[in-house]
């Protein structure tokens, strides 16, 4: 019992009652707007800069190699290198996902496990050029017999190590977010630990793992600094090398192309840099698209 007489007016909306909420909403709206403007500016810059090439000879740009004649030069070698890098990086994802499963599901929670977790987190923050130095020492020099030295294999493995901590962290977080009740339910029905992981934990964590892996591919495709250190070329000439020889020979990738075009003194090459950037953006976008579709299908199967 409140004891006071009910005043109908007390239920009416008071102007300014939710001022802090409105201010907050205004601020986040501005933040969203700023993000859109920045993304828009980047897109505009790239699209506008590459307009001449896109409208006149996009196909040729995609399918020809770098040549010194600006009207004929293309990024076929860069696309090829970037695709090979994406493929090799994807091949190493099971290592990262496996490490995450081990850390979350098998390792007992003691000081050495925590040390590993902290280390992985720190590795995710190491500047990419440092990974380039690691790649140079390990893949280019020590393992030259396998990788062929400054080859696309060395570059891709370096980038795979660069993104490994990201894959581990995002996968571990996705696994940790799986409700314990799924595990209890499975164990309670007589599932083994591996059956529980395979049939409950991984399917439920898969959307989160996919997000992490896509971010990792995007990161790997955008890096130029480590490739520079392991000896990627801006362009190169191949004779009639077969596939295996090319994997172990000179290589380039889209970020390297962009850097090379930008360094050329003649202004006409700016357009090539913009067009190569556009190609890289589209490539990352396509990979994202595949992941989004994959996520949606998994989510549908899980009934959410």
């Amino acid at each position: 019992m409140r004891g006071d007489v009910f005043d109908p007016g007390s239920l009416q909306k008071q102007p300014g009652a939710d001022r802090p909420g409105q201010v907050f909403f205004g601020l986040i709206s501005l933040a969203v707007l700023a993000a859109f403007v920045m993304v828009g500016a980047v897109l505009w810059d790239v699209v506008q800069g590459s307009w001449d090439i896109s409208t006149s000879r996009m196909w040729g740009f995609l399918t020809t190699s770098f040549v010194s004649n600006p009207d004929a030069a293309g990024v076929a070698q860069g696309i090829r290198g970037s695709l090979i890098i994406a493929g090799i990086v994807i091949l190493t994802f099971p290592i990262g996902i496996g490490a995450a499963i081990y850390l979350e599901e098998y390792a007992t929670d003691n000081w050495s496990t925590r040390l590993i977790q902290v280390t992985v987190r720190n590795l995710a923050g190491v500047p990419s050029i440092v990974y380039g130095l690691l790649g140079l020492a390990v893949f280019v020099q020590t393992l030259k017999g396998l990788t062929g030295g400054d080859s696309v294999i060395s570059g891709a493995l370096t980038l795979a190590i660069l993104v490994l901590p990201i894959v581990i962290i995002t996968s571990a977080e996705a696994i940790r977010a799986v409700p314990g009740s799924y595990r209890d339910g499975a164990y309670g029905l007589g599932a083994t630990q591996w059956e529980t992981i395979r049939t409950q934990v991984l399917p439920a964590a898969l959307p989160g793992i996919l997000t992490g892996t896509v971010l990792s591919i995007a990161r790997a495709l955008g890096e130029a600094a480590p490739l520079l250190v392991v000896g990627a070329a801006g362009f190169y000439t191949t004779g009639n090398n077969d596939f295996l020889e090319q994997m172990r020979g000179a290589f380039t990738a889209l970020p390297m192309n962009i850097a090379t075009f930008t360094k050329e003194p003649a202004a006409i090459w700016r357009g090539h840099a913009a067009a190569a950037s556009l190609v890289l953006l589209v490539l990352v976008f396509l990979i994202n698209l595949v992941a989004i579709i994959g996520r949606a299908r998994i989510a549908k199967r899980l009934g959410r």
């Binding site: 339910g185 164990y187 899980l302 959410r304």
Partner: protein, 282 residues
């Protein structure tokens, strides 16, 4: 025994020759000097009790007194809590469940569990029920197994036309009956239920209680409940636990009294039991 009457107090048939302990019914579980620790904290101390075959045994008592902890010893679910440690013996048909050669996975296939919060998997209704038989490598027609289990759990008519739909779209009561069907599907010997109705409304609760009565001829059931009327309505025997503060100030669960449900509710031997069942607990 009627399955639709819910009186405030039990209408449990007299156990004419049964003088608890010297009973004819075989023991499914016997706990001897059971102690369970979470790290250094002894959560349950010196529990001794027998669970009889084809009976419903209820665990009652205030929360935190260790009912769930004891229940999880029956199918070794405590193994999943790294800091939990079990001392004393837990015998199932005479076999020490904590003996080193015992496989907890095999234990859980015989001794099923239904949890406090309905926890259907994010899969179809069919796949939920089929999950246990599949991981257990059960032979036979999966459709038959699923239908039989759902019928057993009184859910078939409600879901037979939407077996392919996600189980997450069912009501809470349906989800819990699905979890019972899922547990039944692996053909267990015992069903452990940890407050299976605490998240459900009275109507859904009534259906689960009916279901327990219907299946009790085929399964030994141990149910944890903090609803005394529920224990009185469904169980044959009741164990009353309580928590007392130990020398370190931690709460330690103890079994106060274990007897036929009618005795616990009408003529308990311990005054703490009487205070609890008459609502004067304090």
């Amino acid at each position: 025994m009627s399955v639709t009457e819910y009186e405030a107090l039990p209408d449990v048939p007299d156990f004419i020759e049964d003088d608890s302990g010297s009973s004819a019914a075989a023991s499914v579980f016997s706990l001897t000097d059971l102690n369970v620790y979470y790290a250094e904290n002894r959560a349950v101390a010196d529990v001794n009790l027998e669970v009889k075959e084809r009976e419903i045994t209820a665990f009652i008592g205030p929360s935190g007194c260790g009912k769930s902890t004891v229940l999880r010893c029956f199918n070794r679910m405590n193994d999943l809590i790294p800091i939990a440690r079990v001392e004393g013996s837990v015998r199932y048909h005479g076999v020490d469940l904590y003996a080193p050669e015992v496989d907890p996975v095999a234990v859980r296939r015989r001794i099923g569990m239904v949890f406090q919060k309905p926890n259907p998997f994010p899969k179809s209704i069919f796949d939920n029920v089929a999950y246990g038989p599949r991981v257990g490598g059960m032979k036979g027609n999966m459709e038959d197994i699923v239908e039989k289990s759902l019928r057993r759990a009184g859910l078939w008519d409600e879901v037979k036309d939407r077996l392919d739909e996600s189980a997450l779209g069912m009501s809470g009561g349906q989800q819990q009956r699905l979890c019972i069907a899922r547990a039944i599907a692996v053909n267990p010997d015992v069903l452990l239920m940890d407050e299976p109705c605490s998240a459900l409304d009275p109507i859904a609760t009534g259906r689960i209680e009916e279901l327990m009565k219907e299946i009790q001829n085929d399964y030994t059931i141990v149910i944890v409940t903090h609803n005394m009327q529920q224990a009185a309505r469904v169980s044959d025997r009741t164990a009353f636990f309580t928590a007392e503060l130990d020398e370190r100030g931690d709460r330690r669960g103890r079994l106060v009294e274990f007897d036929e449900t009618s005795t616990i509710f009408s003529n308990p031997a311990d005054e703490r039991t009487e205070a609890y069942v008459t609502g004067r607990f304090g």
